[in-house]
């Protein structure tokens, strides 16, 4: 059950940077520990994007770099020929993390703030 209360941040009782309901979703959805960790890395990045000041350009840039690493991690832990494709993982985490109007608008505002940036597929192991 996704949480729709408590503003943009929601409840993160274990302070791992991911809403507890998103934590629970990830635990249910993905079984292998490396895959859970990769999904959590994406969730943690998006959660920061919801909360960052959309006028803080250096912070926005840092988060776009975190996106590069998180997405790269997902693609290193999920096989696109398996039942759970990496492209679907990113989309699912994006959807559950932006599950209210307030969160969705904050999220789109982040992408708007990232307009004109660049990204690069990073080298090496980018999983946290």
């Amino acid at each position: 059950m996704l949480d729709r209360t408590n503003g943009i941040a929601g409840v993160d009782a274990d302070k791992n940077g991911v809403r507890d309901d998103v934590d629970a979703y990830i635990s249910t959805r993905y079984s292998a520990a490396p895959q859970k960790a990769a999904a959590l890395q994406v969730a943690r990045t998006i959660q920061k994007e919801l909360l960052v000041s959309k006028t803080d350009k250096p912070a926005i840039k840092l988060l776009t770099l975190a996106e590069d690493r998180a997405v790269n991690c997902v693609y290193s832990k999920f096989d696109r020929n398996s039942s759970i494709k990496p492209g679907a993982v990113v989309q699912d985490i994006e959807s559950v993390t932006t599950n209210t109007e307030e969160r969705l608008l904050a999220y789109l505002a982040f992408s708007k703030a990232a307009d004109g940036t660049t990204g690069t597929i990073p080298e090496g192991d980018t999983c946290e």
């Binding site: 770099l65 996106e67 492209g87 679907a88 994006e94 559950v96 932006t98 004109g116 940036t117 690069t120």
Partner: protein, 436 residues
């Protein structure tokens, strides 16, 4: 020694370095490797930043990390946001209120609902039939909204590169990488044309290629792929010229799920349609891109790949200098090209730049600690806007501009970046990050 003589000596050194085979730039020490091809992806309409990164990864899977000719491919995304995308959230909310509010507040259905459904929607509509009407209304209204947003730029395409970070990245790529391969989807085609024009003003057109996917642009600068049932791009036809259809795809009910396990009723999604391995579009794109890369003529590389690099450009005539201060205090600039860690391998004394400093990829040379990147108006560049971009092997770290004052010759007037290079004591992995 006069600056003119110093420049001449420096030029000889740079020339001698550039005469060395490109392979000589393959540095020892293993911290980074030069690329043979820079793959630049320009994302489509209504794509979030992280979706653009995800889509880039799919291109990497499709084309690999080396070409058939053995050239290393490095992948970049040039992100553009669709103005007005956020306006559809209000419409979406209103639709969720319909049918007695059966789906009230379920905004996690936004991204897939806009494309006609998907796995979550299937479960819902099979359980509660009335929600199917909500989905239909969302999809219909979204198509109209998307066309409005796309039509705006389609009818008034950008005439130049409007993003500083993207411009500087191209400035760096054209001097560091022999081939540039641009691929655009949907709205990204409007931006790729401007990027192509800019790139070929800096490097031979024979070394820059473009492939257009679902071009939302009357103008194309390379081959294109457009599906017959792409209702977004073909929906633009009443408002202007759209390139011809190249490929037939099955109708929505027969559409196989794409690389994100979803479908797209609009026939336009990159992962749902165009890169979907079950549709012929994917193979056509793969062949078009690989063929173009193979046909490109490598340009002469003028700058080395670095563990991190700094590239300086400015907006007109004058002599602006790039200065790097390495952790041990070594001052690298036009008069002292060789540092302890790095080297100033591109110098410009006339106009616009670029100038380029790189820190070595050789772990035995790369100093850990704080580097500073500064600029100076050596002469004749009063009031010029100087822009510096710092990149690591993992992408652009930052881009900053400064308006220059009166000339200061060899004395830097503005420090734009501090870069901390560190080595993890446990893993031995090096990293570069900006410092405030």
């Amino acid at each position: 020694m006069s600056k003119l003589l110093q420049r001449f000596t420096a030029a000889l050194i740079i020339f001698s370095i550039l005469l060395a085979p490109v392979a000589a730039q393959t540095t020892t020490g293993g911290l980074c490797t030069p690329s043979g091809v820079a793959f630049g992806f320009f994302n489509g309409v209504e794509t979030t930043s992280i979706q653009a990164k995800r889509n880039l990864q799919e291109f990497k899977i499709m084309h690999g990390v080396t070409t058939a000719q053995g050239e290393r491919i490095k992948y970049h995304v040039f992100y553009n946001y669709t103005n007005g995308y956020e306006d559809f959230v209000e419409t979406f909310r209103q639709r969720l209120e319909e049918q007695g509010g059966l789906l009230r507040g379920k905004f996690e259905l936004f991204f897939t609902g806009n494309k006609g459904g998907g796995s979550w929607w299937s479960s819902i509509t099979q359980s509660v039939a009335e929600t199917g009407q909500i989905l239909t209304a969302i999809t219909d209204q979204h198509q109209a909204s998307l066309l409005v947003n796309l039509k705006r730029d389609f009818q008034n395409p950008p005439t130049g590169l409007k993003y500083e970070e993207q411009r500087l990245l191209i400035d760096s790529l054209v001097i560091e990488v022999p081939k540039l391969m641009f691929v655009a989807h949907s709205q990204g085609n409007l931006f790729v044309n401007a990027a192509y024009d800019y790139a070929v003003s800096k490097t031979p057109a024979s070394s820059v290629g473009v492939v257009h996917i679902a071009p939302a642009s009357a103008r194309t600068t390379g081959s294109h792929i457009l599906a017959n049932l792409d209702f977004v791009i073909n929906g633009l036809r009443p408002f202007g010229t759209v390139p011809p259809i190249t490929t037939a795809i099955p109708g929505y009910p027969l559409q196989p799920p794409g690389l994100n396990s979803e479908t797209d009723i609009l026939g336009h999604g990159l992962l749902e349609i165009y890169l979907n391995p079950a549709l012929t579009t994917a193979e056509e794109i793969r062949i078009a891109v690989n063929t173009k890369i193979a046909a490109l003529v490598p340009s002469a590389v003028r700058a080395a790949t670095g563990f991190f690099t700094a590239t300086l450009t400015w907006d007109g005539p004058g002599d602006v200098d790039l200065h790097a201060f390495e952790p041990n205090g070594t001052h690298v600039f036009y008069s002292q090209l060789q540092g302890t860690s790095g080297y100033l391998d591109v110098d410009n004394t006339v106009a616009s730049g670029p100038e380029h400093y790189y820190a070595s990829c050789d772990a035995s040379k790369l100093l850990t600690g704080t580097y500073q990147i500064a600029v100076a108006n050596y002469d004749g560049a009063d009031s010029r806007i100087a822009t510096v971009q710092v990149s690591s092997v993992n992408g652009v770290l930052g881009t900053k501009s400064v308006t220059l004052g009166a000339f200061t010759e060899d004395v830097p007037s503005a420090t734009l970046f501090k870069i901390v290079v560190s080595k993890d004591a446990q893993t031995g992995v090096y990293s570069a990050a900006l410092s405030p």
